[in-house]
Amino acid sequence: MLILTCPYCGVKGEETEFHSGGEAHLKRFGPGSSDADFEQYLFMRENPKGVHLERWRHANGCGKWFHAARCTVTLEVFGTYSAQTTEPPQHIRDAISARRPGWTWREFS
């Protein structure tokens, strides 16, 4: 069972308390963008076997969106962090590196 800690209200809960929002740090494209950019933004996904950065909502709690760094193979959660960022903060990157040396995810590592 997946256990997450909401970085806003600090409550630790199991997965039925949260709602998954899919891949994090997507670069959004608006009107006037190319078809290729739209395709990448709307449909193409990393879907990695390993470290995954993703969005979650504390649906049955404070209701806020946040980010989580998680391993899709072991379900180990490396940490959760604020939604108000476009990239994982240093302490999250360090926490992942401690457990998965040499990890990469898109342009982040």
């Binding site: 069972m1 997946l2 997965e15 039925t16 709602h19 998954s20 899919g22 891949e23 078809d35 290729a36 739209f38 395709e39 990448q40 709307l42 449909f43 193409m44 996904r45 990393e46 879907n47 990695p48 076997k49 995954h52 993703e54 899709t72 193979v73 072991t74 379900l75």
Partner: protein, 415 residues
């Protein structure tokens, strides 16, 4: 290959069954093949089989990291149907369903195809309208289905409770030619036929890298050494994202866990397949008497081949309302598989950014029923390096072109 027949059984009975051959060989990998298929599940083996049967290409290796048919082919709920809404889907699923009718004879291997009929229950007014529409679409596509009322549902499924407090049964979409088959036997039958054509099925051989030069695949690195190839087929379901990453491109799909469970065996009580999609549960009875139960997918990316417990609870809770007798059943086993789900819930069969690398993936929660059709289409794609009529609409380019084959509602599978 010695053919299986009643005479073979009699002959072997007379000599203590000492003469049965192994169903397929386990050869060492060669240095090079014309075609390498990654993934010895149903779709991979069917692809190889139709490459040999329809196109005469038999210098083929099928690589499997685990054991043959040990992924989703051995983990699904064995349901076969073709009552889809969109024309391209109906075409490929109906092709698959019709191939299932004669596959035991074609492979000389009994896959126990049982066309017992499939009902998809309509439990809301929306579903009634949706399934009536699907029945009309199916009539135009040449797929035989009909919308039936609650009385007929009760006649076909005596154990059903029509008057559930939350979701009463208002009717159903009935496909009399749908049914089930023995899932392992489908993989085993194709494997035996492929091996007989001289193809190499190499188990315990994990692909660790895809070698390419000048935009073309030259071979793969595996846990059993490097193997070169002229063409590569990726048919790895839930691991498609992982393989695509090795090959250097992204896919429009994500991998999630889907679970199933079976009850203790009981006496025959239901001789059709029933799907209740509003409440996310489906039910059939296996030949052994177990009630085979499937539910919805987990909501997050997952490669663990096990799902969350609360989904089992939700599935069983939903079924108890529609089938009260389920509350008295003990559940025997529960398992999960990793399914690759696309944005429009339709598969991807087509070319990739690497010229001689082809992909069959994204079947999501409904790959088993499509095995013969998917293999047929993928074999044509690999042999001609161009998609044939069956899979022309299923290329990855449909996402950039906005030509979705939207089955997220019509397929009626639980998401």
């Amino acid at each position: 290959m010695r053919r299986y027949s009643a005479f073979a059984i009699a002959r072997e009975a007379a000599r203590y069954h000492s003469g049965w051959e192994r169903a397929w060989r386990s050869p060492e990998p060669k240095k090079k093949y014309d075609v390498i298929i990654v993934g010895a599940g149903g779709h991979g083996l069917a692809t190889a089989f139709y490459l040999g049967k329809n196109f005469g290409i038999t210098n083929v290796a099928i690589l499997e990291k685990g054991w043959l048919g040990g992924g989703n082919t051995g983990r699904n709920t064995t349901i076969i149907r073709s009552n889809y809404l969109q024309d391209p889907s109906a075409a490929i699923y109906e092709k698959a369903r019709s191939l299932y009718e004669t596959i035991s004879q074609d492979l000389n291997y009994n896959v126990m195809f049982s066309p017992r009929g499939v009902i998809m229950l309509a439990q809301t007014e929306h579903e009634v309208r949706g399934y009536r529409r699907t029945a009309h679409a199916n009539a135009l596509q040449g797929v035989q289905t009909e919308f039936i009322g609650p009385d007929r549902v009760k006649e076909l499924v005596p154990i059903i409770n029509l008057d559930g407090p939350r979701y009463p049964v208002l009717g159903g979409l009935w496909q009399a030619r749908g049914g089930t088959a023995r899932h392992d036997a489908v993989a085993w039958g194709y494997a035996r036929a492929c091996s007989d054509m001289g193809m190499d099925i190499i188990q315990q051989c994990e692909v660790t890298a895809v070698r390419s030069a000048n935009g073309k695949v030259t071979g793969v690195e595996t846990s059993r050494g490097e193997i070169a190839c002229d063409k590569l087929g990726l048919v790895v379901a839930g691991n498609s994202g992982h393989l695509a990453q090795m090959a250097g491109f992204r896919l429009p799909m994500e991998s999630v866990a889907l679970q199933a469970l079976v009850s203790e065996p009981i006496k025959p009580c239901m001789d059709v397949v029933v799907m209740a999609n509003t409440v996310h549960g489906y039910l059939s009875q296996s030949d052994k008497g177990e009630m085979v139960i499937g539910g919805g997918t987990d909501g997050f990316n997952n490669y663990t081949q096990r799902g969350s417990f609360h989904h089992i609870e939700e599935t069983v809770r939903a079924l108890v309302e529609t089938f009260p007798m389920v509350s008295r059943l003990k559940m025997l086993r529960q398992w999960g598989g990793i399914v690759d789900v696309t944005g429009d819930r339709s598969p991807v069969i087509g070319k990739t950014p690497l010229g001689n690398c082809f992909i069959n993936a994204g079947w999501g929660t409904g790959g088993f029923k499509a095995i013969p059709g998917g293999g047929w289409a993928t074999a044509e794609l690999i042999a001609k390096a161009e998609p044939g009529p069956l899979c022309a609409e299923f290329g990855m380019n449909r996402f950039i072109e906005g030509r979705f084959i939207d089955e997220s509602v019509a397929a009626g599978v639980a998401h």
